[in-house]
């Protein structure tokens, strides 16, 4: 009886803690993203009589110079950022998986893929993004293409290194001598083995993609000014900062920061969950 009590009182195991954190972050993210859909469209309308109100109970994030509710705009912006991020991160992951499989085929292709990775890492990330966004003339399409084309190198490198190890294991060799094609091996052997890495890489790519979307939009190369993106809100706010309207920049940026860091937390914890041994080595 006494013994049982001690056990139930014991702290959760690392696995349980991790799982709880994953669940919690998913729930918070879900709320953040979906609340954008339930925003009252009226709050986005211009109400000149309510303009420049500092944060209060009725307008938690304050209102802007046209009387639009900043909380509503921020939530809409987060939803938009999320959808852009998911599109870009997904395409980038697909590119990374494809290239790493390509690299595993033969020496020449491997060289070419590594060279491409080097090439993309030799330019500052923002400059590459600007270049691509510039070439596609700005807007949603340009942002998604730019983000998709610039986030694959690090994941490709990880996957390629992993594949190099797997490639020479006996069971792959046997599979090959049994006459299975490279494609068959990739689908049936490589993909299941790499799945955890791919999922973790995908989730961890997310915060970067969202951050870069906001950045490029802020610089004026991304989404158009009519869309309520966080980057647009922040770049517009710059004109009004000197009049002391701090809430225009503070809350939208903070919300973006919260969303990105929760994603980061989610990624870290999923990694901890799927490969606990690897994690233990770099945790103290």
């Amino acid at each position: 009886m006494n013994r049982e009590l001690v056990i139930t009182r014991k702290k959760w195991s690392l696995r349980k803690q991790t799982l709880a954190l994953i669940l919690l972050s998913v729930i918070i993210l879900f709320i953040m993203v979906t609340s954008g859909f339930f925003v009252d469209a009226k709050k986005l309308d211009v109400h000149l009589e309510n303009r420049n109100i500092a944060p209060s109970l009725s307008n938690l994030f304050g209102t802007d110079w046209l009387g639009r509710d900043m909380l509503a705009r921020t939530l809409k912006g987060l939803t938009l950022s999320f959808s852009v991020g998911i599109l870009a991160a997904f395409s980038s992951t697909v590119i990374a998986v494809f290239l790493s499989f390509l690299a595993s085929l033969n020496q020449l292709l491997d060289r070419m893929v590594t060279w491409c990775i080097d090439l993309f890492l030799s330019l500052p990330h923002i400059v590459t993004l600007l270049l691509i966004a510039f070439a596609f003339g700005g807007g949603m399409k340009a942002v998604v293409i730019g983000l998709a084309l610039t986030h694959w190198p690090s994941l490709t490198r990880v996957l390629r290194a992993e594949l190099l190890q797997i490639k020479n294991t006996p069971y792959i060799q046997i599979s090959r001598s049994l006459g299975k094609s490279s494609w068959w091996i990739a689908i049936h052997h490589y993909l299941p083995l790499l799945a955890p890495q791919i999922i973790v890489g995908f989730i961890l790519m997310f915060p970067h993609a969202i951050l870069h979307e906001a950045t490029i939009t802020f610089l004026g190369f991304g989404l158009s000014p009519e869309e309520p993106a966080i980057g647009i809100i922040l770049s517009e706010s710059m004109k009004y900062l000197s009049t002391g309207m701090w809430w225009l920049a503070f809350f939208p940026g903070l919300s973006l920061l919260v969303m990105i860091s929760i994603f980061d937390l989610l990624g870290q914890n999923v990694r901890k969950f799927v490969s606990p041994y690897q994690f233990k080595s770099w945790q103290v």
Partner: protein, 330 residues
């Protein structure tokens, strides 16, 4: 150090740089060709309506716009090779001069931020590593992870609100005071305008170095020689000074050099927020204003900049570490 090894190293590096520059110029050339920008319209600007179709055709012929893509590319590459980057449409002066001018301003900003973030990050990493698992370690680690999700420009905006608008300690923008001739601007004025963007960049740049240094220090402290030193009675600061510092400083410095790309990216944002007239602001203006020559010039320049950083890091790794120099470890 054998001369042959050095020359081989340099030749390899230069070949790599050449291949990178060629690849980047081909890709950016194709991308720009693909872009919706009409070269003639962006050159002539607002007077476009006065140019008839015949004149337009003549211009196209004069510029070789009707030639095949490869011919266009080679004539462009040839002039680049001779150091002629063309004329900036926004500034109406040679691109190379604009870049040189702007780069000096950016260099001051990036250099300051580079040193600040390096020193500060290193100290944070050392403290976290020495006190690993304690409260202060958790705070520093949390701070660094939080930083990696923070938009640089938002930090800039916050600093601008706090220090320029509320406290009024710093000017709102530009690299020099308004209404004063450039020759009369004192060094103090320049630093005054430089400080806030530099602090923004440093705050963001700390995370990488701090986390890396922390890991390294923990590795070092788990080693045999530290155990031996501890057994012979060394502890605390002396132990760190004699055995820790030397082993973790080189990786930290190397890492700082490989972060030139991020530094450049951060500078683009910080310059935009504080309207500081550097290279980053130039590329943004060039992109928004359709100034293709300047845009391409800055792109190629940034390749060179990042490459120099990486090469210095490689050199440090190869030859500064006495163990690597003597070929003891490979």
């Amino acid at each position: 150090m054998p001369l042959k090894k050095i020359s081989l190293f340099m030749i390899g590096k230069i070949a790599k740089l050449m291949s990178l520059i060629i690849a980047v110029s081909i890709i950016s050339f194709l991308l720009i060709k693909h872009s919706p920008i009409d070269p003639i319209q962006s050159y002539i600007g607002a007077d476009m309506s006065r140019v008839g179709p015949e004149q337009r055709e003549k211009l196209e012929e004069y510029w070789g716009l009707n030639e095949p893509l490869t011919t266009q590319f080679f004539s462009w590459a040839q002039s680049i090779f001779h150091g002629d980057f063309g004329t900036s449409l926004l500034y109406r002066s040679p691109v190379i001069n604009v870049i040189a001018d702007r780069f000096l301003a950016s260099l001051a900003l990036m250099g300051m931020a580079w040193i600040f973030s390096g020193l500060f990050g290193f100290v944070l990493g050392v403290v976290a590593g020495l006190k690993r698992g304690k409260m202060i370690d958790r705070i520093i680690k949390g701070y660094c992870f939080l930083l990696s999700s923070t938009p640089t420009f938002w930090v800039g905006l916050l600093l601008l609100i706090i220090f320029s608008v509320w406290l009024g300690w710093f000017p709102v923008g530009l690299s020099t005071p308004v209404g004063i001739l450039t020759t009369e601007v004192s060094l103090l004025d320049r630093i005054h305008h430089l400080l806030l963007p530099a602090i923004t960049l440093s705050i963001i740049g700390v995370a990488n170095v701090a986390l890396h240094t922390r890991e390294k220090l923990i590795d070092v402290y788990n080693s045999e020689y530290i155990r031996f030193a501890k057994a012979s009675g060394e502890k605390g600061f002396i132990l760190f000074w004699r055995h820790g510092l030397r082993n973790i400083s080189l990786p930290a410095i190397t890492l700082q050099f490989t972060s030139f790309g991020e530094l450049f990216g951060g500078a683009v944002l910080a310059e935009q927020v504080f309207s500081y007239p550097g290279l980053g602001q130039a590329i943004v203006q060039a992109g928004l204003g359709g100034d293709v020559p300047l845009f391409l010039g800055v792109v190629l320049f940034s390749v060179l900049f990042v490459f120099i950083g990486n090469t210095i890091a490689d050199l440090l790794y190869q030859w500064v570490d006495p163990r690597l120099r003597k070929g003891e470890i490979r």
